[in-house]
């Protein structure tokens, strides 16, 4: 399993995929923005007016040191105070699987942003499924690097799960990009079994 490539851990590829979806000069809200790497890239390359939300104090301070606008808030409490449709894009990168209440947060994203971009590790990858079948234990792999008892990734979802979830929210997936062996592929065939990561552009219908 260790041979599964993890493009989103090598920030650039994942960030490039997101960056390509974003129109220059727009307002972008990055949820779980970490130290502000993506927002800095978007500011420098796409001239976006960015804002991050991050709970970890050290990461929040790093954002401020980078000149990134940041709100030190807990995403699981929703986006209280953020006005409706106040951002062109709301990004949730590599964080969905860590939220206590993903449904609430994604509903909030659809309220605050015209479009939302969500990336997540795909638990439906054939190697993960195979290992699960053979060993009968929760697989540890590069997209899910920690054992079940000490991981921030509390949800293990597949690309198919995500499609169903967005449909149930009454929202629409406008674009799907799948990362397969480090390469972004648009609407890949059998993505649920082949992709390590999913990246979707969604909007309220």
């Amino acid at each position: 399993m260790d041979d599964i490539k993890t493009p989103f851990h090598e920030f650039q590829i994942g960030f490039n995929v997101i960056s390509d979806l974003i129109t220059p000069g727009t307002r972008v809200l990055d949820l779980g923005c970490g130290t502000g790497t993506l927002l800095q890239k978007l500011r420098d390359e796409k001239d976006v007016e960015g804002c991050g939300v991050e709970l970890d104090q050290e990461k929040v301070i790093r954002c401020i040191e980078r000149g990134i606008r940041v709100m030190g808030l807990d995403l699981d409490e929703g986006l209280i105070g953020f006005p409706d449709l106040s951002y062109e894009y709301v990004i949730l990168s590599r964080t969905l699987q860590q939220l206590m209440n993903p449904e609430r947060v994604v509903r909030e994203m659809l309220r605050v942003g015209s479009k939302s971009i969500i990336t997540f590790p795909n638990y439906g990858h054939w190697k993960i499924v195979l290992r699960y079948m053979i060993t009968g234990r929760t697989p540890v792999c590069e997209t899910h690097p920690d054992p079940w008892y000490k991981t921030p990734d509390v949800h293990r979802l597949t690309i198919s799960d995500f499609r169903e979830f967005i449909r149930k929210l009454g929202a629409k997936i406008e674009k799907e990009i799948h990362i397969i062996d480090n390469v972004p592929v648009k609407d890949a065939l059998l993505a649920n079994r082949r992709a390590e990561w999913g990246c979707c552009l969604i909007s309220a219908t």
């Binding site: 401020i64 040191e65 000149g67 606008r69 105070g81 006005p83 106040s86």
Partner: protein
């Protein structure tokens, strides 16, 4: 090599050195109540050099008991009240910024206040000093800033009452600042805050040493009585967290040979206090008596009590509509006097008005006073330095 390292440390984290308070004189100011207060003196200090384009000025706003002496040493060698934050290479870098700090209106450290002479009587104002507001304090600061030839401040920054002033600057002088840092503050004092201030003022009012009625010639030289000390003790309890008190004092006793706590009455039916926490409060109270004025305490706490942007403007969103500055709101999770929820009220109203607001709740255990405690300074320094750097 070692010597060089030492010198570099001194250069990057050194003290500002000796600073003297300066005084600016004005004809006067029309207060928000309509009362004309004049003549007006403003005590202030400056640090660093104003750039040729006059765009690097930072105004620091002190809290209730502060003064213009924010950094460096004065003629007696006393360190500034935020020396850990302000100086060469520090969070507010005096090599980069022209830093201004003034004593607030109604204070007792050189700016016109109750100890100043009332021209209509030739005597100090004393308790008859006119009622002032946070807005009046800010208007006086704005006069000073203009007097110094600064049209637009790079930043205004303050904690507690200073944070209220920073917010007031953003609201009532929107074009005069590029950014504001509002620390441990609120847009409206809570009833709990009003209650503590009321008890503090009552301690002063109940003091038999207090001079009532019109001021006389003695009030210029008289020293406040114990009432002010008690007010300060109450204040200090509200500035600290329960955790800080536990860590700092616990149940430790002042005298080590005492076998447990024994309540003992002193000569006048009073007691000196046996616990270290009592001793600490006593020290804070009595040293405050030496350095502060009770009428200033009354006037300033009253201004804090009356600060209510929600009431004044009919809602915070109305108040914040005209703000053009970037705003950073900072709170401390151990601050129970001005808790994070109050900072979030400011943040959410700014968000609703689509202003450029950032927010950080710092995990520091020192209560309301966290912004003054040296142990929290590394975090605060990085935030303030980074934020000032990011303001364009």
């Amino acid at each position: 090599m070692q010597e060089r390292a030492v010198r570099e440390y001194a250069d990057s984290d050194g003290r500002y050195g000796r600073v003297d308070t300066q005084y600016a004189e004005f004809d006067g100011i029309t207060l928000e109540t309509g009362f004309f207060l004049g003549p007006l003196t403003v005590a202030y200090e400056t640090y660093g050099t104003l750039s040729p384009t006059r765009d690097n000025a930072v105004l620091i706003l002190h809290a209730l008991s502060g003064d213009a002496h924010v950094a460096g040493t004065d003629e007696t060698g006393r360190l500034g009240w935020w020396d850990a934050m302000v100086g060469p290479g520090k969070g507010i870098d005096t090599n980069k910024y022209f830093v201004v700090c003034s004593n607030c209106l109604g204070g007792c450290k050189g700016t016109t206040g109750p100890r100043s002479i009332d021209p209509s009587t030739g005597m100090p104002y004393g308790p008859s000093f006119p009622r002032i507001s946070i807005g009046d304090m800010v208007n006086v600061q704005a006069m000073l800033v203009k007097h110094l030839g600064i049209e637009r401040l790079h930043n205004v920054i303050g904690g507690s009452m200073g944070g209220m002033q920073a917010l007031e600057w953003a609201v009532s002088h929107p074009d005069a600042i590029r950014s504001a840092i509002v620390i441990a503050a609120t847009a409206r004092l809570s009833p709990q805050g009003i209650a503590f201030n009321w008890v503090g003022r009552n301690a002063i009012y109940s003091d038999p040493a207090r001079v009532c009625g019109p001021a006389d010639e003695n009030s210029a030289t008289r020293r406040p009585g114990r009432g002010l000390a008690v007010a300060r003790m109450i204040g200090h309890i509200t500035y600290l967290s329960e955790e800080t008190m536990e860590v700092k004092f616990g149940r430790k006793l002042k005298l080590k040979d005492m076998n447990g706590y024994r309540y003992s009455l002193g000569e006048n039916g009073t007691e000196g206090g046996e616990f270290e926490v009592e001793s600490y409060l006593e020290h804070q109270g009595s040293s405050f008596m030496q350095r502060f004025d009770e009428d200033s305490y009354v006037i300033i706490t009253k201004a804090i009590d009356l600060f209510d942007m929600e009431g004044t403007y009919g809602g915070l969103r109305n108040a914040f509509g005209k703000i053009s500055a970037k705003v950073l709101v900072l709170s401390f999770n151990s601050d129970w006097l001005y808790p994070t929820a109050m900072s979030l009220d400011i943040v959410r109203a700014l968000q609703a008005e689509k202003k450029d607001v950032s927010f950080v709740e710092l995990d520091l255990p020192y209560g309301h006073d966290s912004f003054l405690v040296n142990a929290g300074m590394p975090y605060l320094t990085r935030i303030v330095r980074g934020y000032l750097n990011g303001v364009r």
